[in-house]
Symmetry: C2
Subunit: 372 residues, 2 copies
Amino acid sequence: VKIAVVGGGQLGRMLGLAGIPLGCSFRFLDPDPGCPAAAVGETVAGRFDDADALARLVAGCDLATYEFENVPAATAEFLAGRLPTRPGPRSLAIAQDRVAEKRFFAECGVPVQAFAAIDAAGDLDAAAGAVGFPALLKTRRMGYDGKGQRRVGNLAEARAAFADLGGVPCILEAFVPFVREASVIVTRSPRGMATYGPIENEHVGGILRQSRTRDEPFALAAVGHARAIAERLEHVGTLAVEFFVLGDGPDAAVIANEMAPRVHNSGHGTIEGAVTSQFENHLRAIAGLPLGDPAPRGAYGMVNLLGVEPPAEALLALRGVHLHRYGKSPRAGRKLGHATIVAAHDAELDLRLAELRRLVEAARPEAMARPG
Amino acid sequence: VKIAVVGGGQLGRMLGLAGIPLGCSFRFLDPDPGCPAAAVGETVAGRFDDADALARLVAGCDLATYEFENVPAATAEFLAGRLPTRPGPRSLAIAQDRVAEKRFFAECGVPVQAFAAIDAAGDLDAAAGAVGFPALLKTRRMGYDGKGQRRVGNLAEARAAFADLGGVPCILEAFVPFVREASVIVTRSPRGMATYGPIENEHVGGILRQSRTRDEPFALAAVGHARAIAERLEHVGTLAVEFFVLGDGPDAAVIANEMAPRVHNSGHGTIEGAVTSQFENHLRAIAGLPLGDPAPRGAYGMVNLLGVEPPAEALLALRGVHLHRYGKSPRAGRKLGHATIVAAHDAELDLRLAELRRLVEAARPEAMARPG
């Protein structure tokens, strides 16, 4: 099976590493011919809306997929007109629009915070009444890693933020005093679903720093929400749903914050930590093969290497650490790789992740100060 | 780190898959530009003794290694003169010569069967006296997968076999009524050793069909022998030692049969079955990085896909099965891939491997009849 992939970043690289043993081959479309995925397949250098490049991408391929959700609609249409393209356009369209996404979650019976669409400055008055303050004003489209959003404490700040974001369509969301963030990853195919998590996520400056599985009282609820979303989307492939955790202890509950209709950074630990990784299951799903067992092989976690990589020598000296480098040149805050650990249980994972974190953070004092 | 690899078969492919996450890149020398390793690195098409191809192989690389042991001596010298080449020439030289290998095992204090060097037909008389019959007459060099050997029951048969093998230097080995075959895999670096196994191996027609870990009474002895061999060789990288198991139950003992100074088919289960695979540890060793934990993550086993591949659909429907396809065109008896299982313990592995074996063997009735 030859697979056309829109995007050639680290997610594409890990899809390739998972797919080569299955007998898949890959062609990646990416503006950078030296992108991380170039190590595991052919590349077509071009923008994601370049018609010539898209034609070269699909030629001779059997299937199309993508490794990021901001695929232009025209590109998604082009692909779907030429190849079986999975996930389908509905998953993309909803994930690209924060308002559609929140409405969709609500339709699925999944709790979300109060929100309102802001298409023009005049919408802010009514929205403020419905949503309250403090709130977050976010662009409806093209946000990622915390970009395109502002925290606002009152109507005047909301107006200023709307202007500052360029007056593009936005969403006003109630600010949620969450205590933690968590995700659930689902791979769905018409034949069934495989789920991973909940995975607890720690962001700094909007960028994921650490993810780890943890036994949580809301596990069944969160997994149920993610399955409901995947099912109603008729999603084929891997999908991540990110949750805010409200409250602590046995009363903790979740609301859905956003989804990514693709393999996800918070699931990188599944490579070593699950019987079948999110990457392999994505490929099995889109190729129509039976899904693999997503069961955890222990408590698993991963730490992103942001901006600076500690010496491999030091990382690999830690027992059971696996290193995943993406082949990128360093730049402040850039995701250059990640390191994973699988432990027997949560308490052991706590200790070993803390040790890994110390090593990773010692390498990047100045990269930590300026994420972005 | 850019690594030049002599040979681009499935072992090279799996080295590449293990090394890309570590940030390694690869260039493979192989007669076939479409070799299995082409999916994970550059290839140089050429024979293993082609000086031009060798020059292109090493240009710009930092390290050299190989994925098969029959590297011509001149090639090994060329590499070692240009790049740090690991394992070193001593491991290759000894592994290429069955007589040197047996003598070396004995020097290491590792038990071997009776044997004698046969450089000319005239040596057979004295050798027969020392070794006895039945015996195996094997070429000293270039044997693999059971090729280049004859079973002989008396002196006349030995003479005929020697002529039939072309009168090249041979070894006469006492035939050992072994009950099983087992291997131990060691990765050695100057900083330490990691060991895998014992792994029980089943050959049919000289070709490995199945490998699986098993708790064995001779485990400590076999691991000790393999470590002694790796240490005395000053081997850097992964090394497999194959043993014959004599007797059964608590009295079972091992003698060393041969070694392969490289990653080994019997260790393929380590990809999913060990914390760190034989492939990753080979790369860590040759790159001077700390070795990873080789501890088993359960009882693990693998079945080779010989000549015919069962439908991926059927294999992947078995719980916890991982498929490793090599990207080769089918041919009777050819190693096209393998499938692995990790189970909680030996008894579960027995059941699940048997199920996998039934599926694999149902796909290849006629390939089984003509291995080779």
